[in-house]
């Protein structure tokens, strides 16, 4: 008689697509191109691939093996390995919870931008006119229209984390929609998730491919790609390059959240996850490089457009100041004319000094942005300059949505699967439980839609799941290699796959990966200590740009709370289990002594 029939993926393809959909997310689009650009272009691929081999694939393989073997979520799986390690699973669930809370806000922003793309002129391409109809709104003039649209109309941001305000209703509605769609995708567990991932995993590639063609045919795009991919080998000498490569691989694959354990727990026992682990990791890295090519093409286009606009403004300034005929100066001889006019009319030229800008194409190409700034400000600005901008805008934000929703599937599954392993929860129907989780996360996430919400978002983004994940995965790999034992692990894998993992995997699990993780962990601790008071970028309304500001005391306390709350699950649970066992042993002794007396 079978006790509990666990849900399964309908076929291995669904599992691969689910992993791809989860791992390929926004980080591939907005973090990897930035790192590639900052750390020597094409040369960055060397540390990147090296870290993929040394750290990424082995750890990915390990998590899939654990999930498929134990057929339980993260809490159950680690409790099965050792009762003291249940806290490891709990820490994963807490980290996933933090991630779920703030990640769907990005999807809400994507929805907001998507819906606003259905207009004849994109609202972030022009400044809105002020109430007197004399000119554009001041804040928009000092900044750029795209920045104004993001900071004022999308976020309605306050000037610091201390100032709070009301909820932005548009944002709240978009967040409701984002959670509604998340619920729709996971309402029946893997049965519904399995079907959705066919779309969320494949369609972003269609859009990326379309954007690749569009991007490479843009004016100046090829310059961008060539410039940014030209390897600068001297960057490889800096340790930060290698550390950033390692952290990027680590976070990009989504290790430590428990999503991979959850996904693979729904696999058939003899599923060949070894091959799947390699395939998914390679797809993830390949997508990063693909997205980087597209991003650099867009950067090249944007830099060329900015450069040419700068030249145009300089030309107009010279023409107006010196009343020259329009034919005399064109784009090519602006700099010659500057020289000529400087020598012939030095006093008049000196008057222009404040207004004359320096136009430098390389400087434009060197501006590098990452994160939400890249996705919502730089990219949307580039889109406004393309012909048929509404179409490109819709396509782009649909792609961002699919990438984000695909990752959300993994994040929410990482919370639900381990909790459903508990008997108390499995009595409630899965639809009701999933609904409760989504509702709670939505209500808590409303806090990010207030005027200071973006600052809280930054706290969660930077501290919610970075440090704790390193800790979790480090404990995971040490547990598997030394506590559970490589030999037992080998046997389990042989049981599932039919062959033992070869010496390469064993060396990575036992030696290289833990050492790398320890190095990363120490580096994080050192940089936290050395960094002093953590700072954030506050938007200054009057100046129209972001400024660095220090977190107030309650902000720093909250950061500490975030870090401690997930990490402390491990020792606290171990302590709790230890106390429970002592109590049980004590009771057992008492009973035994009573029975012997009775006998």
């Amino acid at each position: 008689m079978e006790k509990d029939v666990r849900d399964n993926w309908e076929n291995p393809t669904q599992f691969i697509l689910a992993c791809v959909s989860y791992a390929v997310g926004l980080g591939n689009v907005w973090r990897f191109p930035y790192l590639c650009q900052m750390h020597g272009g094409g040369g960055f691929l060397i540390p990147y691939f090296l870290m993929l081999l040394l750290e990424g694939v082995p750890l990915f393989y390990m998590e899939l093996a654990i999930g498929q073997k134990m057929r339980l979520g993260s809490i159950g799986a680690w409790t099965a390995i050792s009762p003291y390690l249940g806290g490891l699973g709990l820490a994963s669930v807490v980290a996933s919870l933090y991630l779920c809370l703030y990640y769907n806000i990005i999807n809400a922003w994507s929805f907001w931008y998507l819906f606003h793309s259905f207009q004849s002129t994109l609202p972030w391409s022009v400044c809105p006119i002020n109430s007197n109809r004399t000119g554009p709104i001041e804040e928009c003039e000092r900044a750029t229209p795209t920045q104004y649209f993001f900071y004022r109309e999308t976020l309605n941001i306050s000037s610091s984390i201390e100032e709070n305000g009301s909820i932005h209703t548009g944002q709240a509605l978009c967040l409701l929609l984002a959670w509604g769609i998340t619920y729709l995708f996971i309402v029946r567990g893997v049965k519904s998730t399995g079907k959705v991932v066919y779309f969320t995993a494949t369609f972003p590639y269609v859009v990326l491919f379309i954007y690749l063609i569009r991007g490479m045919t843009l004016h100046g795009a090829v310059n961008g790609v060539i410039y940014m991919f030209t390897p600068k080998m001297e960057e490889l000498a800096k340790p930060t390059t290698w550390i950033n490569a390692a952290t990027q691989i680590f976070f990009s694959l989504g290790l430590g959240f428990g999503s991979l354990i959850a996904f693979s727990s729904y696999n058939q026992y003899h599923n060949n996850f070894e091959r799947q682990a390699i395939i998914v990791s390679l797809i993830n890295s390949g997508t990063s490089i693909f997205a980087a090519i597209v991003t650099f093409a867009i950067y090249g286009f944007k830099a060329t457009v900015n450069y040419e606009n700068c030249l145009e403004r300089t030309r107009t300034l010279l023409l107006n100041a010196f009343s020259l005929s329009e034919d005399s100066i064109n784009m090519d001889n602006v700099f010659e004319w500057i020289e000529k006019l400087n020598t012939t009319y030095p006093e008049q030229f000196a008057e222009l000094y404040g207004k004359l800008e320096t136009c430098d194409l390389e400087q434009e190409l060197n501006t590098a942005v990452e994160g939400t700034g890249l996705a919502f400000i730089v990219y949307s600005e580039a889109i406004t300059n393309m012909p048929l901008s509404q179409l490109w805008s819709v396509l782009y934000f649909i792609m961002l949505l699919l990438l984000g929703m695909g990752s959300m599937l993994g994040n929410v599954t990482a919370i639900i699967t381990p909790l459903r392993d508990f008997k108390v929860v499995s009595r409630i129907s899965s639809e009701l439980f999933n609904g409760i989780v989504c509702l709670v996360c939505f209500l808590l996430g409303l806090g990010f839609t207030t005027t200071s919400g973006n600052y809280w978002f930054s706290i969660f983004n930077d501290y919610g799941a970075t440090f704790s994940l390193l800790f979790i995965v480090l404990i995971e790999i040490i547990t598997v290699s030394y506590y559970y034992g490589i030999k037992r692990f080998e046997k389990d894998i042989e049981d599932m796959l039919g062959h033992r993992p070869n010496w390469y995997w064993k060396i990575m699990w036992a030696g290289v990966s833990p050492l790398l993780l320890i190095a990363l962990f120490l580096f994080y601790i050192v940089s936290y200590i050395q960094g002093g008071t953590p700072t954030y970028q506050a938007w200054n309304e009057d100046l129209g740009k972001s400024e660095q500001a220090e977190y107030p005391l309650f902000g720093q306390a909250f950061i500490g709370l975030l870090l401690v709350s997930s990490v402390s699950c491990v020792p606290l649970t171990a302590l709790y289990v230890f106390i429970q066992k002592r109590k049980q042993a004590h009771q057992h002794k008492q009973q035994h002594s009573v029975s012997t007396v009775a006998a």
Partner: protein, 214 residues
């Protein structure tokens, strides 16, 4: 005599030029960017275009002040190859008095679109330095368009959720009915068998049947 005639003939233009100075009280600078705006279809700036300008300005002044302004009331000077020049407007009642800045500004603002169209230019390519164009009021629709798209999408999502939940509930109900139906069938079967073979309902026999079910 002839000298006097010459002097009188030359006087108005000279006076006109003297009136038209960049620091005159009602003077405005105009700047045209014909080549930038029209590209290949650009026309040359010559005396005829200048005449058109003066005629258009006279029209604008007429419209605003309801006085009989003529082309001679608009005086253009200090032209440059940029195509920029200064102009002043003299009153039709007194050709040596200048119309003040405010009146000229209001007249230009009123007829700005007509002046632009006469030259096939726009607010940015035909600039009156110092007179800012009144920007078009933004068209504010009753329902913001994003709300419409949002409504459609959230309606679809809501319908999807309701559909999935209802179909799950109906499946569960169907399964429950099936299970209840199966149990009933099996109980009926055993009773029937008993009555057919024995004619008398033998409870021991039917009990055995129940055990063998498992």
């Amino acid at each position: 005599m002839l000298g006097w005639v010459f002097f009188l003939l030359c006087l108005p233009p000279v006076l006109a030029v003297q009136l038209c100075e960049s620091d005159a009280p009602g003077a405005y600078k105009v700047r045209l960017s014909i080549r930038t705006a029209l590209g290949d279809k650009a026309y040359d700036w010559n005396e005829h275009e200048k005449f058109l300008f003066r005629a258009t300005m006279a029209y604008a002044m007429r419209l605003h002040k309801q006085q009989e302004f003529g082309v001679s009331n608009i005086i253009v000077c200090r032209e440059s190859p940029r195509v920029s020049f200064w102009f002043v407007v003299t009153s039709p009642l007194n050709s040596s008095a200048l119309v003040d800045k405010g009146d000229v500004e209001r007249a230009v603002s009123k007829s700005r679109h007509r002046i632009n169209s006469a030259f096939l230019l726009s607010d940015s390519s035909l600039e009156f330095v110092g007179i800012y164009p009144t920007l078009v009021a933004p068209v504010a629709p009753d329902t913001p368009p994003w709300l419409i798209v949002f409504g459609v999408v959230i309606g679809l999502v809501g319908a999807g959720i309701v559909f999935l939940l209802v179909s799950t509930m109906m499946e569960k109900r169907r399964k429950k009915k099936e299970k209840a139906g199966e149990h009933e069938e099996e109980r009926v079967k055993t009773v029937e068998n008993g009555s057919m073979t024995d004619g008398v309902y033998n409870t021991t026999f039917s009990d055995d049947e129940r055990f063998t079910e498992m």
